[in-house]
């Protein structure tokens, strides 16, 4: 039985400036996802999280190309599919929630139109049934008096409501996987929590798998089963949430954890030194090495390979290996 979704050594590059510049936005990403599972994807802005999301549904901008790798949904190869076939997968089997609730609804169409679309195209719902379905979905995301509100236009709703509608749209096609790309970044903190709870509830009810992209480790702790930490287009560390917080393996993960403000201490906040890397001019060796406090000679020359550690954790760092050899 293959995993629900498997991404294997995915590479996608942007070819900017008439092909003279290559930006390696995704550079060998692998992970897998089981039904009902929540996979968190964490990293700084611009590390390739969003590109990964778009690559999975094959909706990268025209200047980007998937160079190599595999994406499998229940064993089917998505990269081999035509755009028409992909369309049957988007919204129907893999749904997506975007960052900005204010911007992700078409301002000129009613809520009803927009929520109904996936059900219309993928589930062939029509007429009264479609209406019923939309009403159910809106109730599911806790929109009060859905019958009345679904005639409204997006600008008549608040931010939190809109994001819940986006959630309803994601559910409308009855997907197996929902990719949520920083769904709460633009929401107030109180509404964030409500929304996360809602997502959790919905996931529990429908058994859908969730890819949760965020830069907020707090949310990761609340939402996810498994976490991948991305840096410069690569997943530098992947393990369970518990493992990540208690036993981070990659110096970058550690740095991220250190930079979370902690209650009760007066220590100055930890800041990762240096700048996020320029993806078109990555340093030799490990991409993180210029900012890494434990960088060694080897890091500057050789790019770390994926290290499979115990408890199913993986990392791309020479450090565990080095520790093992020095200790041993």
């Amino acid at each position: 039985m293959p995993p629900l979704l498997r991404v294997d050594d995915l590479r996608a590059y942007y070819f900017g400036f008439r092909g003279t510049r290559v930006v390696k936005a995704i550079d060998g990403v692998s992970f897998s996802l089981e039904a009902g599972e929540t996979f968190g994807l964490v990293g700084e802005s611009g590390c390739g999280k969003t590109s990964t999301c778009h690559a999975i549904v094959r909706l990268l901008p025209p200047s980007a190309r998937i160079v190599s790798g595999r994406i499998e949904l229940e064993g089917e190869d998505l990269l081999g599919k035509s755009q028409t076939e992909m369309r049957q997968i988007r919204g129907r089997r893999i749904a997506t929630i975007l960052q900005d609730p204010m911007a992700s609804l078409d301002p000129l169409f009613s809520i009803y139109d927009q929520v109904a679309e996936p059900a219309y195209y993928h589930r062939a719902f029509r007429g009264r049934r479609l209406r019923q379905r939309v009403k159910e979905l809106l109730s599911a995301v806790r929109i009060p008096s859905p019958e009345r509100r679904m005639k409204d236009l997006p600008h008549q709703m608040s931010g939190g409501m809109r994001q819940r509608i986006v959630g309803a749209i994601a559910l409308a096609g009855g997907p197996q996987v929902i990719i949520a790309d920083e769904p709460t970044t633009n929401l107030d903190v109180t509404i964030q929590l409500q929304y996360l709870n809602l997502l959790k509830d919905l996931q529990r009810a429908s058994g859908v798998a969730l890819i949760f992209v965020t830069h907020n480790l707090g949310i990761v702790a609340k939402m996810c089963d498994k976490v991948g930490v991305m840096y410069a287009g690569k997943i530098v560390e992947m393990q369970s949430v518990r493992g990540l917080f208690y036993n981070p393996r990659h110096p970058y993960t550690r740095a991220l954890l250190d930079s979370i403000p902690k209650l009760g201490t007066k220590d100055p906040l930890y800041v990762i030194p240096g700048q996020p890397p320029d993806l078109s001019r990555l340093p030799a060796g490990c991409s993180f090495q210029p900012r890494c406090q434990s960088a060694m000679e080897r890091c500057r020359v050789e790019e770390p390979s994926e290290q499979h550690l115990d408890d199913a954790a993986t990392t791309r760092c020479w450090l565990p290996l080095h520790e093992a050899t020095t200790r041993g």
Partner: protein, 315 residues
């Protein structure tokens, strides 16, 4: 939002620093740059390069007089065709006009007028408009109300009509057209700049300067004007083309540059009849010159717009 490139980086996540480090020189569109260079060189070096006077007829050879008029001697030979016609000569490569003046030389001197008029006119318009826009946006209140209402009224006046009107106040002349262009086009800058300043006013560095008691004039000079320059430059590059066309149209309608000074629009107007006689080159070459200049200005403007300010693409 975003150019194609912008969208790519947004999703793919190229850092700002990375974007800035690209060599922008390589991205300048070559063709328009080349065209503009040629025209500018022709204009600047006209006295050196032009084969003949742009105001006096080319002295004909007796043979030409005999062939054209059956006269032994004549002051000039009009309407010589370009060199590729059988009667054409290389002495006047593009032929001569109705007064026997060399077309090529007149085109080169015409480039001077078009460029000088369009550039200085647009420059003055930009200066006035920017200043008023900054004042309106930053000083607010009555300044804003008065300046913006006048700007609105000004924008309602169609530019060419306004220009014709002004030209009948001022009479013909190169510098009068510069003045006219400045008076007509400042309003486009003040509108855009004001919007920009409204946003800038709320930014931290301006707030900070205000809190620290920096004078208003200094804030305008040090913080606001430098920050609206992108917008102004983009508008400038796009307005230059319009200015060239307005100058040509005014000259075409006979209220622009006074003859015998050669302006492209005027040359076209003067040779309208020749066009009907099949001497197309007399009107078509100046037309092509205008088109080339405006086209290059527009292309450079487009490029600059993408580079400097994606927000302005709709203007």
């Amino acid at each position: 939002m975003a150019t194609i490139l912008g969208r790519a980086t947004e999703i793919g996540g190229v850092s700002r620093a990375a974007r800035r480090s690209y060599s922008w020189v390589r991205e300048i569109p070559l063709v328009p740059l080349l065209l503009v260079t040629v025209l500018v060189l022709a204009a600047v070096l006209a006295p050196v390069l032009a084969p003949h006077s742009h105001l006096d007829p080319v002295k004909p050879t007796p043979g030409q007089c005999q062939a054209k008029y059956g006269m032994a001697d004549c002051p000039y030979v009009d309407n010589m065709p370009p060199f590729w016609f059988s009667q054409g000569t290389f002495a006047t490569p593009l032929g001569t006009d109705y007064l026997g003046r060399d077309l090529l030389s007149r085109l080169m001197y015409g480039a001077r007028i078009s460029l000088v008029v369009a550039l200085t006119g647009t420059l003055f318009a930009g200066a006035i408009g920017t200043l008023l826009g900054v004042l309106a946006g930053y000083m607010g209140k009555w300044w804003d109300q008065i300046i913006m209402r006048v700007t609105d009224a000004w924008l309602t006046l169609p530019s060419l009509v306004f220009a014709i009107l002004l030209s009948s106040v001022r009479g013909p002349g190169v510098w009068n057209i510069v003045l006219i262009l400045a008076l007509v086009f400042w309003s486009r800058y003040s509108r855009a700049v004001r919007g920009e300043v409204l946003a800038l006013r709320e930014r931290e560095f301006v707030r900070l300067a205000e809190i620290n008691g920096v004078g208003k004039l200094k804030i305008i000079r040090r913080h606001l004007i430098p920050n609206v320059m992108n917008t102004v430059m983009v508008l400038f590059s796009l307005q230059v083309g319009v200015a060239v066309i307005i100058e040509a149209s005014l000259s075409f309608l006979g209220v622009g540059v006074p003859p015998p000074e050669p302006s492209w629009g005027l040359m076209m107007a003067q040779e309208r009849e020749s066009l009907m006689q099949g001497k197309w080159w007399l009107a078509v070459f100046p037309g092509i010159c205008i088109t080339m200049l405006v086209l290059s200005a527009n292309m450079l403007g487009d490029w600059l717009r993408v580079r400097l300010d994606p927000q302005l693409r709709n203007r």
